[in-house]
Subunit: 334 residues, 2 copies
DNA sequence: CTGTTAGCGCGTTCAT
DNA sequence: ATGAACGCGCTAACAG
């Protein structure tokens, strides 16, 4: 690799002048236009690129942002990929390198946190679910000076210190329910996980003058698997409960529910319309192509990077948490 | 952050001694045991950790490996995640940081390549499909001194210069076909993509004394989607062709095929047994849980890191490409 | 057994 | 309009 010295030597000028010209840091003074031109051309010819380690050493900035992604969403939903993709694209725009770590448990996350504050990265994006202990750890890191932005599945930041790029889960619930209501569903079965989402559904049903049927609420708080979906459907059918719509809390639940319906001889969407959440790739090839609400995680990733860069470059400015709008993707199941 | 100087000052010794002790680079000489102990303890107390930028500057090693993952497999198969997970785990064991980039097209990949050789990373793992142009670029980088390991979907390395951690696709075909034969299938439909895989199927059928039915070969070379699976099935059924087994080239194809079978009133596995490839998460909740051959990409990732580290640390030793064994995961569809 | 010196490549005063 | 000198934190060669 060519260095500043190589360029300086070739042109018989000092390294510092080359540095100033190439960085555009001339202060009040100016260099001869033709020299500037010559320096630029020589740098180009020699394929000069600054040594990041040397720059980091003197500037105290690494131009690296850390990304800790707690595996988010059910397997196969490509949520992590979407989030990572958004972060990658935006980081490149800001000329930042990325130190990505997918972690599947708290222990790993804790270990990763211990890497921070070691002159390795300038800031941190933490994606996915954050447990209490990790939360404390993050607050500590923040207090020690590492800018941190979270990208969580909920709307609310964990604390004012940790600005969040989130998702309006109430709106997720609203979109799903509103779509079913619009398609004529009157009795909607609801698998319940986040209260926010359930609340969004209630908002919509209330506004439409439809009753919320308590017997059609199925608690699935920590179970987003296909089994929960199948169980709910079978329970309702066995109980002789009529329903013409179903909002699941994940695409996997929705698929489980659809499979159960089909196996029982019911038709989707004719007998029951189904909506999932996550817009996973397999929505396209479920037994009936599945309508789903997308979290728009690529946008979340982009926003998170922007927020973090602001925090790194203007540490004094306080940051406001924001929300990304979910989107409905209509397919045959509704 | 505490520096070597801080430790040295506290103990009234020189920085270089502290460095030697902490790095275990004493050469032939020895330091007083109690001093060694004191240095270690002080480092611990001060929470000392070496500044990676400074180390990189003087050693010329970044302790960073680049990972360019060309999105591999159909969406939702979690193949990228598996590969990334294996790479991450192993990189941590080698104390290497990771510069991961998912790229979805050649252009991005080309752009990423231009980052190499800029004192940013010590070596490169390139995962997924590699097109001709990128291949040339990689050879160039290799020639300029960047160690490169590929992690490809095939068994063969692109060139002797680029050692590969691959998958024995012939064995993938064998596993799938052998399983169906063992379950009693006599007329097996085969969606064809890679010749290797098809060859593996032929191996097995031949050995079992079963005929390869040409009319049950369906060309799907560049189409691994559910549509290809559905089309094959519909074509065969419309043609009045009997078949009792089906090997798809992806789980998505297999699911498309199963959906088509079920929609036509056929039963899986009673009438037709189906095997997919990739072992995607959604195998568990397809309309019939899908038997699938896994590429074992986590192991591929681990091996790739090991190979790259060997290449970085012992540049003279030539590297041999290797293959990871695929695995069969049996579910209800067969 | 330990310290001195030099230098990795760059950015930043402060002189000239 | 330009350059000399210093320091970021660390390692390595060489002296004692």
């Amino acid at each position: 690799m060519a260095t500043l010295r190589d360029i300086a030597a070739r042109l018989g000028v000092s390294e510092s002048l080359v540095s100033k010209v190439l960085r555009g840091r001339m202060g009040t003074t100016k260099a001869r236009p033709e020299l500037i031109e010559a320096i630029r051309r020589t740098a180009e010819e020699l394929g000069y690129a600054p040594n990041p380690a040397a720059q980091a050493l003197v500037r105290g900035r690494q131009d690296v942002i850390g990304v800790f992604l707690r595996m988010v969403g059910q397997g196969g939903t490509a949520q992590n990929e979407a989030l990572a993709k958004g972060i990658l694209a935006q980081a490149r725009r800001h000329n930042q390198r990325l130190l990505i770590n997918f972690c599947s448990d708290d222990e790993e996350m804790q270990m990763l946190c211990s890497l921070v504050g070691r002159n390795i990265l300038d800031g941190l994006i933490v994606g996915g679910f954050v447990r209490e202990e990790i939360f404390r750890e993050l607050l500590r890191l923040r207090a020690e000076g590492t800018p941190i932005v979270t990208a969580m599945t909920g709307a609310a930041p964990l604390s004012p210190e940790l600005p969040n790029v989130g998702i309006d889960q109430r709106q997720v619930g609203r979109l799903a329910a509103a779509h079913l209501v619009e398609r004529g569903c009157r009795r909607i079965g609801l698998l319940c996980s986040m209260d926010e989402r359930t609340g969004g559904c209630r908002d919509v049903l209330g506004a439409a003058g439809l009753p919320v049927c308590d017997e059609l609420l199925w608690p699935a708080r920590y179970n987003l698997t296909h089994r929960a979906g199948a169980e709910a459907v079978e329970h309702w059918l066995d109980g002789g409960l009529a329903f013409d719509g179903l909002v699941a809390q994940s695409d996997e639940q929705a698929v489980g529910a659809m499979n159960a319906l089909v196996n029982r001889g019911l038709r989707v969407p004719d007998d029951v319309r189904v909506v999932g959440i996550d817009d996973a790739p397999y929505c396209d090839f479920a037994i009936v192509p599945l309508t789903s609400v997308s979290h728009n995680l690529e946008a979340v990733g982009r926003q998170a990077v922007d927020m973090l860069m602001a925090a790194i470059e203007r540490p004094s400015e306080p940051l406001k948490s924001i929300c990304v709008e979910p989107m409905l993707h209509v397919r045959a199941s509704s």
